[in-house]
Symmetry: C2
Subunit: 192 residues, 2 copies
């Protein structure tokens, strides 16, 4: 259960056996069935979640009921409505399981206490937040600079493990294109 | 020179007089004239920059020479090609002064040494990176969920101090719309 999250932590900071136990102590287990919601708009969100197993997506639903996918997450990724989590604003996002999923949640207050008790976790969360920040900048740049075919190729290169686990509709939605355009792009690429 | 950066730091962590001096010791001064470049693609970037005075923008130039603005920065903001800085990939962005500007730069190795010598800076940089991360998520959500009028209104609300310092072309570019559309939107808004 805790093996992969501890591996991720140990890439950036070294923990004693005691500190590992303390960290495990604040993690809460969540299990979701496929299509079940982890969070929904207008709820309180005071957790961020690490994916032990499964696949989820975070999306916004506009006033016409159209879904706009902001993020996918699979094993070893973190997911939440980070704006609501950090700024304590109301939730805007749905987070829904695409497969049966197992998650470990960290409650905001428990995280703040962890930073006080074991300050090197500041370093761990600084580093993973920086990686997430840089990857979002790349996504915005990619919107600005690349055509849809290039963005699809980039998606497949960056997320090879996700592509095979989600539907064409979900990929098209994430890329901000119509499913028909995705089919056309794939056909063109396979003819080369 | 150091007053505002120290104020920003002291919002999140408490420094002793000695630690303040140590921090000031790693800051390097940069001055730029309007239209001068701080960084350009294919250079090495190993600094991130704090704006003491002035206004800058970070943009990508596509193969047709079209400019796509990723970020503005004014007093008390940070700017860099963060992907190149953190992942040590080659630079993609131009950063150009929109006004005469004064910056304080932190070199990557000096920052790593600072984290070792004064670990509470991990906390400071974790918090400011988190804020930047959350604000990028909002920008992507805003692309997905809002029409151009709503995005312009949001821009003016979020960046009231920037709007009066940059041209209409720059605002339109940042919003990903044509300057003519921006004029139309402004006219519509002033008629209400």
């Amino acid at each position: 259960m805790y093996k992969t999250i501890l591996q991720q932590v140990s890439k950036h900071i070294q923990l004693t056996a005691f500190e590992k136990e303390e960290f495990k102590g604040i993690l809460q287990l969540y299990t979701l069935k496929k299509k079940e919601f982890l969070i929904q708009p207008n709820q309180q969100v005071n957790h961020q979640y690490y994916v032990v197993k499964g696949c989820l997506n975070a999306y916004y639903s506009d006033e016409l009921g159209n879904k706009h996918i902001l993020q996918f997450a699979i094993e070893d990724w973190w997911i939440s409505d980070f704006q609501a989590f950090f700024e304590e604003t109301s939730l805007q996002l749905y987070i829904e399981a695409i497969e049966d999923s197992i998650l470990l949640g960290i409650q905001k207050d428990a995280l703040e206490t962890l930073f006080i008790r074991i300050p090197k976790f500041e370093r761990f969360f600084r580093i993973i937040t920086t990686k997430a920040f840089v990857s979002l900048r790349s996504r915005i740049l990619s919107f600005l600079q690349k055509n849809t075919t290039e963005r699809y190729v980039e998606f497949c290169t960056t997320y090879p493990k996700i592509e095979e686990r989600i539907t064409n509709h979900q990929i098209a939605n994430y890329l901000g294109i119509q499913p028909e355009s995705l089919s056309r792009i794939r056909k063109e690429l396979s003819n080369h």
